[in-house]
C-alpha cells in the first residue's frame, strides 16, 4: 500500500529583505520527514514555520540547500515542473482562502479546474466533501458556511489532486478550540485513510501534541525534534496529551 511522501531537507537557508535590513527566516536547516507521518512544526511568531512550509510547497525558493520529496529534487525544478509539483502538494491555510464566488464543491474542484486529471473530478470532490463531513453542503457558498466548515472545504480542496504531501499552515488558528479539535481529528483520520504525509505549522501546543513528531523552530533553526510516538514527550506538551486522553 502506498504511503505518503518522504521529505528530505538539507542545508536550507532563506532570507528576506525588508526595507534595508535582511531577515534570516531559515538558516542551514536539515530534516527528514518520514512517509505517512503527521509532523508539527512549532515555534513562536517569526521562527520560520510558514517559510519552511512554503519552501517545501515550492511557493518560495530557497537561497541555499535542497529539498527532496520522494527522491525528487524540488529546488531544481523548472517553472512548469514546479506547477506540476504543486499540484501533488495539498495546502491548507489559516484563513482558508476559499473563492467566495464558488460553491463548496466548486472550491474543492478549483485546483484541478484548468487541468485534465486521471480521475473523475466531480465524483472525487463529492467523496472528499463526504470525507470531511460536508456531504449535502456541496452547493453552499463559503459565505454560508462556518469557519470550521470552510476549513473542511479547504482541506477537501487540498486533497483533490491526490497529494502525497499535505501542508497546513495554522489550520486551526482562526477557529475556536472545539472546532480546531474537530479539524485535527479530521486530519488524523485523513492521514490514516489516505496515503499522505502531513506537515502542520502551528504555535498551539495542543495541536502539536496530536502529531507523531514535533519539530520546534526558533530564529530559523531547529531547537527541538521529538518523536511523540515513541513516548518521547517534552514536558510542556504532556499536559496537552493528557488533556486529549481524557477526552
Amino acid at each position: 500500500m502506498p504511503t505518503g511522501a518522504e521529505v528530505v531537507a538539507t542545508g536550507l537557508t532563506k532570507t528576506f529583505r525588508s526595507g534595508g535590513s535582511r531577515i534570516v527566516a531559515i538558516e542551514d536547516l536539515s530534516l527528514t520527514i518520514s512517509p505517512g507521518t503527521m509532523t508539527a512544526i512549532s515555534g513562536p511568531s517569526g521562527s520560520g514555520k510558514s517559510t519552511l512550509l512554503h519552501l517545501i510547497g515550492a511557493i518560495e525558493r530557497a537561497d541555499a540547500g535542497s529539498i527532496t520529496v520522494d527522491g525528487r529534487e524540488v529546488t531544481s525544478l523548472r517553472r512548469r515542473q514546479l506547477d506540476a509539483y504543486r499540484r501533488t502538494v495539498g495546502f491548507v491555510f489559516q484563513r482558508y482562502h476559499l473563492l467566495p464566488t464558488l460553491t463548496a464543491l466548486d472550491n474543492v474542484l478549483a485546483p484541478v479546474l484548468p487541468y485534465r486529471v486521471r480521475f473523475d473530478k466531480t465524483a472525487r470532490a463529492r467523496q472528499l466533501l463526504d470525507a470531511v463531513g460536508l456531504g449535502g453542503r456541496e452547493r453552499a457558498l463559503p459565505g454560508q458556511l462556518s469557519g470550521g466548515q470552510q476549513q473542511r472545504v479547504a482541506i477537501a480542496r487540498a486533497l483533490i489532486g491526490e497529494p502525497r504531501l499535505l501542508l497546513a499552515d495554522e489550520p486551526t488558528g482562526n477557529l475556536d478550540s472545539r472546532t480546531g479539535e474537530q479539524i485535527l481529528d479530521l486530519l488524523v483520520k485523513l492521514r490514516d485513510r489516505y496515503p499522505v504525509t502531513i506537515v502542520i505549522a502551528t504555535h498551539e501546543q495542543h495541536v502539536a501534541a496530536r502529531c507523531d513528531r514535533l519539530i520546534r523552530l526558533r530564529d530559523g533553526h531547529i531547537v527541538d525534534d521529538v518523536d511523540l510516538t515513541q513516548g518521547g514527550e517534552p514536558a510542556d506538551i504532556t499536559l496537552g496529551r493528557i488533556g486529549r486522553l481524557r477526552v
Partner: protein, 913 residues
C-alpha cells in the same frame, strides 16, 4: 485635515501615483481629443471655405423653368441650359446687371443646333493591288456612340480602280437610268463603256448616300481622279462625311471674360469683342444674300462618338459586270460579292473629325458652313421611381425638323443617331431672316480647360463649357460602359446634351437682341463674397431677393452648392445600347451650410463622449482608492470623524491630485500635440487644469459619499464582498469562474464596460455620421471629400476614446487582481500555473469587453438607424468590425494585468506569521 491628506498622499505614494496617472491620462486624453475634434472642425470649415467659391453665386432662369423635382430637393439639374431657349428679356438683364451688389451678370442665349460636316479622309493606296486590271475597294464604315454600346453598320462605299483609260466627260445614257455619267471606261479592245456612278449627292433622308467613286490607276502608279483633281495623285484617298451637330449660344464677351476668363482660354485666332456684328454679304454663285456670324469654337466638342471602317477588295464577276450596269444593279452585286482582305484599317473619333474641321479653316474661314436650319431641343420628361431614380421618357424624333424648306429632300444633320431615339423634343426654328443664308464664321478657338479654375468640389452647373458626364450607377452598367463615362453625341434629342460648342456674341447674331426675350439664363456673381460665412450668405441672399423683386424670374442661390449624384435609368436605344443605370451629377444647393452644421453637431457629440469616458475612468480610479481605504476610513469614523469630514478628506485628496495632474498635462499636452499633428492653443491646453480638477471632483463625488457612509464596522469586513445572489450556478471552467468574478463588483464591471462601450459606440456613431454624408444629408462630392478628411482625425479621436475605455478595463482588472490577490495566491499555491491565472484574468477582461462592445455597438446601431432612417448592411459590417476590434483591444489591454498578476507575492499573502 490637510496634514492628514498630505501625509496620506505621501505615505501611500504608490496609490497616489496610480491615481495621478489616471487623472493625467484622462486629462491628456481630453485635451488632445478635444483638440483633435476642434482641429477637424476647423479643417472641415476650411475645406468648405476653400472650395465654395464657384464661378457664380446666383442662377437666374426664366420664370417657371425650375422643375418640381429641383424645387423639392433643392437641386439644380444638369443641362439646365439645354432646353432653355430664351425667356429673359434684355431689359431684365440690364436691370440685374445694374443692381447693387452684382459683380458680374453674365447672360447666355441658347440659339440651337446647327450641323457641320466634318471630312474623314481614308487612305486606300495600300488596299489597291496594282497587278489587277480592275478592282473595287469596298469600305464598310461602322459608326458608334455611347462608349461603343450603340453601333451602326452603314452601307459600304465603293471605289472602282481600273488600269484602263478613263474618259472624263459627262455622258447621258439609258443604261444608267437617266443619271449623268461623268466617266467612260475605254476597254482594251477600244470599246467605250460608261460607268454608272449613281446619285452621290450627299446626305438624304435616312443616310448619307455615296455613289461610285471612279479612279484610273496610271501605269506609273499614280491615280487619275478626273478633272476635279488636276494633279496626279500619289495616294488614293476617299472622303467620308461625318455630320456633327454643334450647339450655338450667344454670350456677352465682356461679362463672360469676367465670369470665367473665356478671353484667356482662347488658343487660336481671337476672342469675341463687343464690336463684333453680323456681316452681310452676297454669295458670288447664287447671288443670295448671306450673313456671316463670328463664332468662337471650342477645341473640345465633347462628343462620345466613333468610326471604324474595314476595307477589302472585290474582284471577279461583280467587278467585271460593273461597266455599263445600272448603279443599283452593280451595287447589289458588289454588296453580295466576297472580298480579299487588306491591311488597311481606320479608326476615328468625333473629336478627331471635329478638329480636322477646325484645321480646314481657311484664312477668313467658315468651316462650319451653313447655320440653317437651326434645331432646338427641349427638356426630357422624367418618371420618378420609388427609389428616387429618374427615367427619361423616350420620344419619337421626326426627321422633318431637319429639312430646310429651301432645300427640300436635303436633311441637314441627319445622322443615324437620330434613329437611335431620343428624349428631348426637337423643333426647327426659323432663321432670323428667311431671305438670308447664315454662315458661322470662325474667329478663334477656345479650350475649356483653360477657363478660370473653380473648385471642382463646388462646381456650379457649368454646362456652358463642359460636357455632362454620366457614369454607371450599378455594376452591370459600369461593366457595360467599361468604367467609362457616357457622353453626349450629335443627336440633339439625346439624353445628355452637349455644351455649346460655338459661341457668338449677343450682338453678333442677327436680330437676337431685338427678339422679345432672347436670354436663356443669367449667371450672377455677387460682390464682396469672401469665405463661406453668414455675412457672405446674407449678401448673396439680399441680391437674390433684389433680383426676384425686380424681375420676377426664377432665382437659385448656388453659393456653396456641390455636385450630387442622381440615378437615371436610361432606356435602351435602337442600335444596341442596353438599358443603363447612370449616376448623373446634379447640383445640390447650399451644401456647404449643411456640412458646417453637421460637423458642429458631431464635434459636440465627440466632446461629450470624451468627457463621459474620462469621468468613468477617473471615477473608477477614485472609487478604487476609497475602497482600498475602507478600513482606514472606518477607523477614522470610529475615532469620531463626521461624515462631512470623511467626504471632504477624499475630495481634498482627489482635488490635489487633479490639480497636479492638470498642471502636468498642460506641460505634456503642448509638445505631444505637435507630435501627433493636433493644433492646440495654449488656452486650450490650460483648460486642462480646470478640466482635471472638475473631472476629479465629479469622479470623487460618489466615492466620497460612499466614504462618508462608511460604517465603523467595515473595519472588520473583508475587502472583497461575497456575491449577493443566492442561487449560484456551477463554475467548472476558467471562463465560468471569470464570469462569476465579473459579478463580484458589478458596479466596477459596468463602469469599465461602459467606458469601452462608449468608445465602440463613438466609432459606430462616427461611421453613421460619415454615412449620412454619403446619404441623405449631403451625399455630395463636397460632403464626400470633407468626410474623408474628417474620418482621419475623427476616427483617431473615437479610437482614442475606445483605447481609453480599454485602459479603463485594464485598470479595473488590475484593481480586481489587487483586491483578490490572496485568492489568486491560494490558487497559485494549489498548483494553478501563472498561465492559467493569466487566462482567468484575460477572460474577465474579454467578458467586460464583450459587454461593453456589444452594448456600445447596439447603441451605435440604434443611433445610426435613428439618424439615417434606415439600417444599411454596411452598418452591420461596420458594427461587427467595431465589436471585434473592441474585443481585441480589451484582450490586449487585459494582457497587462494578466502579466502583472505573475508578480503577486504569493508567499507573503499566504504567510500566517
Amino acid at each position: 485635515m490637510l496634514r492628514v491628506v498630505l501625509a496620506q498622499l505621501r505615505q501611500r505614494a504608490g496609490r497616489t501615483t496610480a491615481l495621478l496617472l489616471g487623472v493625467l491620462i484622462a486629462t491628456m486624453g481630453f485635451t488632445l481629443l478635444t483638440g483633435s475634434a476642434e482641429t477637424s472642425r476647423l479643417q472641415v470649415i476650411g475645406e468648405v471655405q476653400a472650395n465654395f467659391r464657384a464661378a457664380y453665386d446666383i442662377l437666374v432662369r426664366p420664370p417657371g423653368t425650375r422643375l418640381p423635382l429641383e424645387q423639392e430637393l433643392g437641386l439644380v439639374r444638369p443641362n439646365f441650359l439645354s432646353g432653355q431657349f430664351g425667356g429673359i428679356t434684355m431689359d431684365q438683364y440690364e436691370q440685374i446687371a445694374h443692381l447693387p451688389g452684382v459683380e458680374v451678370a453674365a447672360p447666355i442665349a441658347m440659339i440651337g443646333y446647327v450641323t457641320a460636316y466634318a471630312p474623314v479622309d481614308l487612305d486606300l493606296t495600300d488596299a489597291v493591288d496594282p497587278s489587277l486590271q480592275r478592282q473595287v475597294i469596298r469600305i464598310k464604315p461602322t459608326w458608334s456612340a455611347a462608349t461603343g454600346l450603340s453601333v451602326h453598320e452603314a452601307k459600304p462605299v465603293y471605289v472602282y480602280v481600273t488600269r484602263n483609260d478613263v474618259l472624263w466627260r459627262p455622258t447621258e445614257t439609258d443604261a444608267c437610268e437617266g443619271t449623268i455619267v461623268s466617266a467612260v471606261e475605254v476597254q482594251p479592245d477600244g470599246e467605250e463603256i460608261p460607268l454608272c456612278q449613281g446619285d452621290g449627292s450627299g446626305p438624304t433622308l435616312g443616310e448619307v448616300k455615296y455613289g461610285l467613286d471612279v479612279v484610273r490607276l496610271r501605269p506609273d502608279g499614280t491615280f487619275d481622279r478626273g478633272p476635279d483633281f488636276p494633279h496626279a495623285q500619289q495616294r488614293l484617298t476617299t472622303r467620308l462625311v461625318w455630320p456633327i451637330a454643334l450647339l450655338v449660344a450667344a454670350i456677352d464677351p465682356a461679362a463672360e471674360a469676367d465670369l470665367v476668363g473665356l478671353d484667356a482660354a482662347v488658343t487660336d485666332g481671337r476672342y469675341l469683342t463687343a464690336d463684333d456684328r453680323p456681316i452681310d454679304d452676297r454669295d458670288l454663285y447664287s447671288s443670295w444674300l448671306y450673313t456671316r456670324v463670328p463664332v468662337l469654337a471650342t477645341t473640345t466638342p465633347g462628343l462620345d462618338e466613333g468610326l471604324t471602317a474595314s476595307i477589302d477588295r472585290v474582284v471577279g464577276e461583280a467587278v467585271e459586270g460593273l461597266p455599263g450596269a445600272a448603279w443599283g444593279v452593280a451595287r447589289e452585286a458588289l454588296d453580295r460579292a466576297g472580298g480579299q482582305p487588306t491591311d488597311v484599317a481606320v479608326e476615328y473619333t468625333a473629336t478627331d473629325a471635329y478638329r480636322r474641321l477646325l484645321a480646314d479653316v481657311p484664312g477668313d474661314g467658315a468651316p462650319f458652313g451653313s447655320m440653317v436650319p437651326i434645331v432646338r431641343s427641349g427638356e426630357p420628361r422624367y418618371a420618378v421611381a420609388e427609389d428616387g431614380s429618374l427615367t427619361p421618357q423616350p420620344i419619337d424624333v421626326q426627321p422633318s425638323v431637319f429639312v430646310d424648306e429651301r432645300q427640300p429632300g436635303f436633311v441637314a444633320g441627319w445622322s443615324w443617331l437620330l434613329a437611335d431615339g431620343g428624349f428631348r423634343p426637337l423643333q426647327q426654328v426659323p432663321p432670323p431672316d428667311r431671305a438670308q443664308l447664315l454662315y458661322a464664321d470662325w474667329v478663334g478657338s477656345f479650350d475649356p480647360a483653360n477657363l478660370t479654375r473653380f473648385s471642382e468640389l463646388s462646381a456650379v452647373p457649368m454646362e456652358t463649357y463642359f460636357s455632362p458626364r454620366a457614369t454607371g450607377a450599378d455594376d452591370r452598367s459600369r461593366e457595360l460602359l467599361r468604367d467609362q463615362a457616357l457622353g453626349p453625341d450629335s443627336n440633339p434629342a439625346s439624353y445628355l446634351a452637349t455644351p455649346p460648342q460655338l459661341l457668338t456674341s449677343l450682338y453678333a447674331f442677327p436680330g437676337l437682341t431685338d427678339a422679345p426675350a432672347p436670354l436663356s439664363a443669367i449667371r450672377v456673381r455677387v460682390a464682396g463674397v469672401e469665405g463661406f460665412n453668414d455675412l457672405s450668405r446674407e449678401k448673396v441672399r439680399l441680391v437674390a431677393e433684389a433680383i426676384t423683386a425686380a424681375t420676377g424670374l426664377d432665382v437659385d442661390i448656388t453659393l456653396g452648392s456641390s455636385p450630387t449624384l442622381r440615378t437615371v435609368n436610361l432606356p435602351a436605344g435602337n442600335y444596341g445600347r442596353p438599358e443603363l443605370r447612370l449616376a448623373e451629377e446634379w447640383s445640390k444647393k447650399g451644401t456647404a451650410a449643411v456640412i458646417i452644421q453637421a460637423i458642429d453637431r458631431k464635434s459636440v457629440v465627440l466632446f461629450g463622449l470624451i468627457l463621459v469616458v474620462c469621468v468613468l475612468f477617473l471615477g473608477n480610479a477614485v472609487s478604487a482608492a476609497v475602497r482600498d481605504r475602507r478600513r482606514e476610513l472606518a477607523v477614522l469614523a470610529c475615532l469620531g470623524w463626521s461624515r462631512r469630514r470623511l467626504a471632504s478628506l477624499i475630495v481634498t485628496e482627489v482635488v490635489i491630485v487633479g490639480l497636479v495632474a492638470g498642471v502636468a498635462s498642460v506641460g505634456l499636452a503642448l509638445p505631444l500635440s505637435s507630435l501627433v499633428g493636433v493644433r492646440l492653443t495654449v488656452q486650450h491646453a490650460l483648460l486642462a487644469i480646470p478640466v482635471a480638477v472638475g473631472l476629479a471632483l465629479i469622479a470623487a463625488l460618489v466615492p466620497a459619499l460612499r466614504a462618508a457612509r462608511t460604517h465603523p464596522a467595515a473595519a472588520i469586513h473583508a475587502a472583497a464582498r461575497p456575491p449577493r445572489r443566492r442561487r449560484v450556478p456551477r463554475r467548472r471552467t476558467i471562463a465560468g469562474l471569470a464570469r462569476a468574478n465579473l459579478w463580484r463588483v458589478p458596479g466596477r464591471t459596468a463602469l469599465a464596460a461602459a467606458a469601452l462601450g462608449i468608445g465602440v459606440g463613438a466609432v459606430t456613431i462616427l461611421c453613421a455620421i460619415t454615412w449620412t454624408f454619403h446619404g441623405s444629408v449631403t451625399g455630395t462630392l463636397l460632403g464626400d471629400a470633407v468626410s474623408v478628411r474628417v474620418r482621419g482625425v475623427d476616427i483617431v479621436a473615437a479610437v482614442a476614446t475606445a483605447l481609453l475605455g480599454a485602459a479603463a478595463v485594464a485598470d479595473v482588472l488590475y484593481l480586481n487582481i489587487r483586491d483578490r490577490a490572496a485568492e489568486l495566491a491560494a490558487l497559485r499555491a494549489t498548483g494553478w500555473s501563472a498561465a492559467a491565472l493569466a487566462r482567468l484574468v484575460t477572460y474577465e477582461g474579454l467578458g467586460m469587453g464583450l459587454i461593453g462592445a456589444l452594448t456600445g455597438a447596439a447603441a451605435g446601431i440604434a443611433l445610426a438607424v435613428e439618424f439615417a432612417g434606415t439600417a444599411p448592411t454596411e452598418l452591420v459590417w461596420v458594427t461587427t468590425a467595431t465589436v471585434t476590434a473592441g474585443l481585441l483591444l480589451t484582450g490586449l489591454a487585459a494582457l497587462v494585468p494578466a502579466l502583472l498578476q505573475r508578480r503577486i507575492p504569493v508567499s507573503t499573502l499566504l504567510a500566517e506569521e
